[in-house]
Every structure is written in structure tokens, then in C-alpha cells.
């Protein structure tokens, strides 16, 4: 409970300011992270996603999708080795490793795009930083993504990929991806307030994004002439690094990691500024 000696908080709402004071805004956001986390968790529960079947579906969905792409690659295009051989299993593992990770940004964007518009009473009745809503979307996506990694481990071992300290790289890579996903989520969350069909177009955009990212193919198979495509994709070099760590058993190229960090910070700054500049209008727009 609040104590009598608590400092008096003075808040000033001034029509002349377009951006809220950034320091207090961010500390206000950070001090309510627990709220964003609990809301994400409870929302997942409300959607029955933390039941046994809900969790199973979270894993089954990318697993089945991975099988579909695998059949496409191995059977129809005839690449990726013998379907029942070790090469076939390795191809499947590569696809699953990427697809599971891709679930993180794609779910973040899908949930994030709707977070403000469906934020209802949060947006209308509280003065909390609205940034907590897209943050909550990313947390939800992370909570759905985490268990899929357990399944991946089984495939990794079965396919006989290397195990070692290089795998620790997966942790910073996921962290970089979380930051990128948050930045992009704030962009689509803002856009969707003004253009309500953004959330409807998003699944198609996400599907194209999936094909443009080294997931169902290896980054080495990208033709040298199209190398730049990895760099203009916010998550392109990150997924290339992911493949280097998981399937080549080594540390990722620092150029790739650097580009990924650049995209992450860039998306975060652009997304946050765009979001903060607009967020005071959200209450009258939804």
C-alpha cells in the first residue's frame, strides 16, 4: 500500500507538447512491466492458450507448417536430400529451427497491430504509457515461442547437429529479435489505429516476409547478386546468424550480428518515437 511519505507526483499535461517527456515516460513504462507481463499471461490464459491443448497447438502449428515446407522442398523440388535419410531430417530441422523462431516476430506483429485498437478500457480509462500494450504483445509471443524451442532441441539432437558453447549465441540472437519485433510492433500498432485494415493485410505481408527470410532455404543458397536482400530485411541477417549457430556449429559472422543489432535499435527508436508521438491521440481514435 502507499505510504504517507511517498513523494507527491506532479503531472503536467500541456497542449504544446507533442512528445511526452521521454525520461519519465520510459521510467513509467519500465515500472509497469510487471503489469504488461501479467496482462500478457492472463490474456493467453483467457484465450485458453495456456491449457495443455493450447500449448500443444502452439507447437503443432509450426511443426505441421514445417512439414509442409519440408515436403515442398524435398519432394517437389527434389532438393534437400533423401526424404528418409539423414539429409532429409537435417533439412526438416533447418526449416523447423527457422520457423519456430519466425513465430516470435510474426506473432508480435499480429498481436501488436491489434493491441491498441482492442486495448479498449486500458486506452480509455488509464493514463499509463500505451507502449505497455505492444510490449505485452511481444511478451505474449515470447511465451508462446519458448516451448517450441524444447521441440527443436529434440530435432537438433536427432539430426546430429553440433552441441557446444557456440549455442549460447542463440540467447543474444533471440534478445536482438525481441527488440526488433517490439520496434516493428509499435509501428504496426500505430498504423492500425489510423488505418484499420493494416491488421488484415498483415498476414499476407508476414507470409511474404517469411519467404524473403532464410528459413525454408539456407542463407548460403541466396545468390551472391541478391546478398543485399539479407541486409535490407530487418531480420535477414539475424536468421542467417541463427543458421550459422545452429547448423554450422560456429559463432555467427560479426557483420551479420552487427547488421541485426543495427536493425533492432533502428526499429526500436523509430517505432518508439512514432508511437509516442501519436499515442495521445489513440484515446479519441478508437
Amino acid at each position: 500500500m502507499t505510504t504517507p511519505e511517498k513523494p507527491t507526483i506532479t503531472r503536467i499535461y500541456d497542449a504544446e507538447r507533442h512528445l511526452p517527456p521521454i525520461g519519465p515516460y520510459l521510467s513509467d513504462t519500465l515500472s509497469h512491466l510487471q503489469f504488461a507481463y501479467q496482462k500478457a499471461r492472463l490474456d493467453l490464459r483467457a484465450a485458453h492458450k495456456d491449457t495443455w491443448f493450447g500449448r500443444l497447438w502452439n507447437i503443432l502449428n509450426p511443426l505441421l507448417l514445417g512439414m509442409v515446407y519440408w515436403l515442398l522442398v524435398v519432394v517437389i523440388f527434389g532438393s534437400g536430400g533423401d526424404i528418409f535419410g539423414r539429409e532429409g531430417l537435417r533439412t526438416l530441422t533447418q526449416i523447423l529451427g527457422g520457423l519456430f523462431l519466425f513465430g516470435l516476430p510474426s506473432a508480435s506483429l499480429a498481436l501488436g497491430s491489434k493491441s491498441i485498437v482492442s486495448g479498449g478500457s486500458f486506452v480509455l480509462n488509464t493514463r499509463l504509457p500505451r507502449m505497455l500494450l505492444p510490449i505485452g504483445s511481444v511478451i505474449s509471443s515470447f511465451l508462446s515461442f519458448a516451448p517450441s524451442m524444447i521441440i527443436y532441441v529434440v530435432f537438433h539432437l536427432a539430426a546430429g547437429y553440433e552441441i557446444g558453447f557456440h549455442l549460447l549465441w542463440t540467447i543474444p540472437l533471440v534478445a536482438i529479435l525481441v527488440v526488433t519485433a517490439l520496434g516493428l510492433s509499435m509501428v504496426v500498432a500505430t498504423l492500425n489505429v489510423y488505418f484499420r485494415d493494416v491488421a488484415s493485410f498483415l498476414p499476407y505481408a508476414t507470409r511474404i516476409w517469411l519467404y524473403l527470410t532464410p528459413i525454408i532455404y539456407l542463407y548460403q543458397n541466396v545468390p551472391a547478386a541478391l546478398d543485399w536482400a539479407l541486409y535490407i530485411n530487418p531480420i535477414g541477417t539475424l536468421f542467417a546468424s541463427w543458421q550459422q549457430v545452429l547448423f554450422e556449429g560456429r559463432s555467427p559472422d560479426l557483420v551479420f550480428v552487427g547488421a541485426s543489432v543495427g536493425w533492432a535499435l533502428g526499429s526500436l527508436v523509430v517505432g518508439a518515437l512514432m508511437f509516442m508521438r501519436r499515442e495521445r491521440e489513440f484515446a479519441v481514435r478508437i
Partner: protein
């Protein structure tokens, strides 16, 4: 009630605030409609001034009742003070921890139970999980919801939502409590409990702003009263006087809209 220039400790100071909405005539804003609008070159936007140059000060320990016809800007005023709506012009200074109790209730997610909503409400107000655990029972008790506290709030009646919302808001020990029509939600028994709680809050030299259509509630509880008319301050002063003036005004039929309130 006084002008903002006075030096006494104030809880809320509203300085020449104007709030303008952009009301969209189109049902939904989409990229499609934005594109088709390019062809017609017509902006289908209308501006609505909800508050026009409103200034007021609420002192520590003051209980301000806000009355006025539907659409007079009462709820907009509360939302602006709460920091939810940005002022188009002017400035608002708030001294203290504000808890809002607005008519929509606390429901962050209708699928969640009352208890889960208490938890989220507490976290949203900056309590730690430990502090919430300590107050959770008290809130559940105060709301008088019984076993419903563990049901999803989508199963609640509007009165039950209102009660839970009020219970959460007052448990946050706010310095400034903003209430929008909350008392009309509960039944007679709950109303008694709620008014007692509000008196307690006032005794701690905190401020309350209550928007109400129930003129008797304002007369009975408020220490001052603000009458808003079409977004402007029509009168400020003793509750008895202002309510009387408002009642006379409505009875004289000066404002057809005001009849909605009876």
C-alpha cells in the same frame, strides 16, 4: 473553488483548457477509404469542441461535483484531468496520485475473472504483487460480489462491474479520485458503503471529482459544484446554489438537452 492564480495547495489546476475532437464521419478508417478519398478530394471530418476554455482549481480536500446536460463535456473533463485525453489548448497540472473510476469500469479483458482484474488494476496503479495480495481480499470483500469474484467479468451485470471498479479504485489510496457516474451503478446498500468510503478519502485531505446526473448526491456530498454547459463553465460555487440554478435553468426550458437528465 477558486481561480488558478490562488496560492493555496491545489490538487488539480486546469488552465484555459480546450479539447477538440476530430469526429470521423466514416465508419471505419482504412487504407482503402484513404485511397478512395484521394479521388474525391474531400475530407470527411468534423470537429467537435468538447471543452471550451475551461479553467478551474480543485484544492486539497475538496469534493467537486460536476453537473450538466448530456454532452456538456463532463466526462471529457475527467479524462483530460486523468491524462487520458490530450488538451488541444491550455495546460493541466495535477499534484498527486490519481485513480480514475470511469464509467466503462476496470475490465481489461472480459474473459478474466474479477480477481484477475483486481490484480491487473493493482499493477496498473503501480502496486507490487505483494501489496496486491495484501489488499485483494479487502477489495473482494468491499465489492460484495461473493463467489462472482472468481467468475469472468463478462458475466457481470453493469452494477457489479461498477462495484468492483469502485472497490479497486478506492483501495489504491488515491490522492485524487475521479469518478464518473459510479454511484448510479450499485444498489442502495452499496451506495451507502461507497459514500462512507468517499468521506474517508476526503478526510485524508485528498480530492474527489465526481461527475453525476444524480443532483441529490452532489448536493449531499460535494463541497463545491461545477456546472458545465456545452463545454463552457456556466457556474461554480456552493452545491446548493449551483444545483438550484441548474434546476431552474432546466425547468425554464432554456436547454432542451438538459431534460435528458431527469
Amino acid at each position: 473553488m477558486s481561480l488558478p492564480s490562488e496560492s493555496e495547495a491545489f490538487a488539480v489546476s486546469v488552465e484555459n483548457v480546450t479539447v477538440k475532437y476530430r469526429a470521423m464521419l466514416e465508419q471505419r478508417q482504412t487504407m482503402k477509404s484513404a485511397l478512395s478519398r484521394l479521388g474525391r478530394n474531400k475530407q470527411e471530418v468534423r470537429y467537435i469542441q468538447a471543452l471550451k476554455d475551461v479553467s478551474l482549481t480543485v484544492k486539497q480536500g475538496e469534493f467537486l461535483g460536476v453537473i450538466g446536460h448530456n454532452g456538456a463535456g463532463k466526462s471529457t473533463l475527467l479524462r483530460t484531468i486523468a491524462g487520458i485525453l490530450p488538451p488541444t489548448k491550455g495546460r493541466i497540472v495535477v499534484n498527486g496520485h490519481v485513480t480514475t473510476l470511469l464509467s466503462v469500469g476496470i475490465g481489461f479483458n472480459g474473459e478474466l475473472t474479477g480477481r484477475e482484474n483486481i490484480k491487473l488494476g493493482g499493477l496498473a496503479n503501480g502496486l507490487t504483487p505483494k501489496e496486491i495480495e495484501a489488499t485483494e481480499e479487502e477489495i473482494a470483500e468491499f465489492s460484495g460480489l461473493g463467489e462472482f469474484i472468481d467468475y469472468p467479468i463478462k458475466t457481470y451485470s453493469s452494477g457489479m462491474r461498477g462495484r468492483l471498479g469502485f472497490a479497486v479504485a478506492v483501495a489504491m489510496e488515491p490522492d485524487i479520485l475521479l469518478i464518473d457516474e459510479a454511484l448510479s451503478a450499485g444498489d442502495a446498500e452499496f451506495r451507502d458503503k461507497a459514500s462512507k468510503k468517499m468521506r474517508e478519502i476526503m478526510e485524508k485531505a485528498q480530492a474527489i471529482i465526481l461527475v453525476s446526473h444524480g443532483l441529490s448526491v452532489v448536493k449531499e456530498m460535494a463541497s463545491s459544484c461545477l456546472w458545465l454547459d456545452h463545454g463552457r463553465v456556466k457556474q461554480v460555487g456552493e452545491p446548493d446554489e449551483v444545483v438550484q440554478a441548474y434546476t431552474d435553468y432546466v425547468a425554464a426550458g432554456s436547454s432542451a438537452a438538459a431534460h435528458d437528465d431527469f
